[in-house]
Amino acid sequence: MEGSIGLLGFGEGGWGPSIASGILVTVSLALATLPVGLVIGFFVALGKQSSEPSVKLAANMYTTIFRGLPELLTLFVVYFGAQIGIQKLALLLGYTGNIEINSFIAGMFALGVVFSSYASEVFLSAFRAIPKGQYEGGYAIGLSNGQTMRKVILPQLIRIALPGLANLWMILLKDTALVSAIGLADILRQTGVAARVTKHAFLFFGTACMIYLVLAILSSFVIDAIERRAARSGVKR
């Protein structure tokens, strides 16, 4: 038992610092992916509830593809595909050096795309929960299309979509573990290295699981606070 505390600690021979840096990578990757996924997801949802069939078709194709592919495969396709694509592009421009794609950016992009396709469904059902009268009320007092969206619909939309988005955040947090497969030094990668070096696999992977669990619990506190805050600005019932 004492040995395992030493292994996990920050002292000499302890893997604490490298695991802590892994936590930082995981959290920053998830936080960086979130806005990307939310913005794309919002616009895809807008497209899905459009009255124009071609917009709807394009948006539905997006979600069908990215919800049907395994996240790991999406990650590999983005990572290797972008590498090959950019290399070919550079070759056309006359550059022959070796180009490495940043695995953080690739992970952010792939996870953002997956997140957005699920988020679009959440936004879509939230859109459907807002009665038409809200739009009409907005137009009646002379707000433009964009203003109605920003000042009338969006505040309600966010409140309705929050529980679904909170769920997706938890999934995103777990999905970040996949980037260890393309070499990003996140929690799982760092604990994996420690496990291989020290041969205490159960200890280190168990620690990784516990860290993810703590991150999930911490985020549920934050989400609760946000939900309370959002409910405060809503109509009192």
Partner: protein, 278 residues
């Protein structure tokens, strides 16, 4: 005469309504977006056509097929095993017994709160730490195989999700159904089996379908622990040939698999909710 005729033409004649705009902004955007998708798909087909290599297909095609069979076998057996484990877990979650419900809650929280890939690694690499104990019980042969480790971790993981689905579905059936059956003198077990469960399963069908699809997608990670499923053979083919089409073919196969499942589920839902359509 002419004057009165002119007067008769009142200035209030309305202009005919403007013809509907043919190319509104959303329409243009939509066509551009569909055009981009079409271009991407045609580009993909063109790439696969030019990169078509009979030698490669002959060599790796059969491996993809066997990988697909491994994927389906692994997911199918872990879903069934998980369904069996989920029953006591769901019962524990609904139990009034403090101990049983907290144990079940902890189980569900752990498996839903940690990444599946971390669980797979924990079991696959972690069992090595207990080699001597496992050898003593005779389970080492079982855990030595990556496939069985994947099966165990998948089954435990999906059991947690399925338990929540089951619990939610049983809760969704109103209490009046229990009371109605009780007033007819039907025993609790028969009530559950013949009254509650059929109604609960209608509610649970869609989440179960989502869970199966999530498992199919999630099963790709077993490639990282040396199980040769579809993803595993894809990685193998890519690492040997550095031909990007390896990944594209896998993407197409996964997409088709998921779409087939989705349509089967839509069909099943239509079939079992026939009596609800008025």
């Amino acid at each position: 005469m002419t004057e009165s005729y002119l007067n008769a033409r009142t200035p209030t004649t309305l202009r005919p309504p403007a013809p509907p705009k043919r190319w509104t902004k959303p329409r243009v955007i939509g066509h551009v977006l569909v055009g981009i998708w079409a271009a991407l798909i045609i580009g993909l087909l063109f790439y696969l056509y030019t990169a078509w290599n009979p030698e490669l297909i002959q060599k790796y095609g059969p491996t993809y097929w066997s990988g697909l069979k491994t994927t389906i076998g692994l997911v199918g057996s872990s879903i069934i095993l998980g369904a069996l484990i989920s029953i006591p877990v769901a019962l524990g979650r609904m139990s009034k017994n403090w101990f049983a419900s907290s144990v079940a809650y902890a189980y569900v929280y752990f498996f839903r709160g940690t990444p599946l890939i971390a669980q797979v690694f924990l079991i696959y690499y972690g069992v090595g730490s207990f080699k001597t104990q496992l050898e003593a019980v005779g389970l080492w042969v079982f855990f030595r195989e990556a496939w069985y480790c994947a099966l165990v971790s998948f089954a435990l993981n999906t059991a947690a999700y399925q338990a929540e689905i089951l619990r939610g579905a049983i809760r969704s059936v109103s209490l009046g159904q229990w009371e109605g059956a009780a007033s007819l003198g039907i025993s609790k077990f028969v009530t559950f089996w013949k009254v509650i469960l059929p109604q609960a399963l209608i509610v649970a069908l869609r989440p179960y379908g989502n869970e199966v699809i999530l498992m199919i997608k999630g099963s790709a990670i077993v490639a990282l622990i040396t199980v040769y499923d579809l993803m595993g053979y894809t990685r193998l083919a890519y690492s040997r040939t550095f031909d990007f089409q390896a990944y594209l073919w896998a993407a197409i196969i996964y997409l088709i698999l998921v779409e087939i499942l989705r349509h089967i589920w839509d069909w099943m839902e239509r079939r079992i909710t026939r009596h609800l359509i008025r």
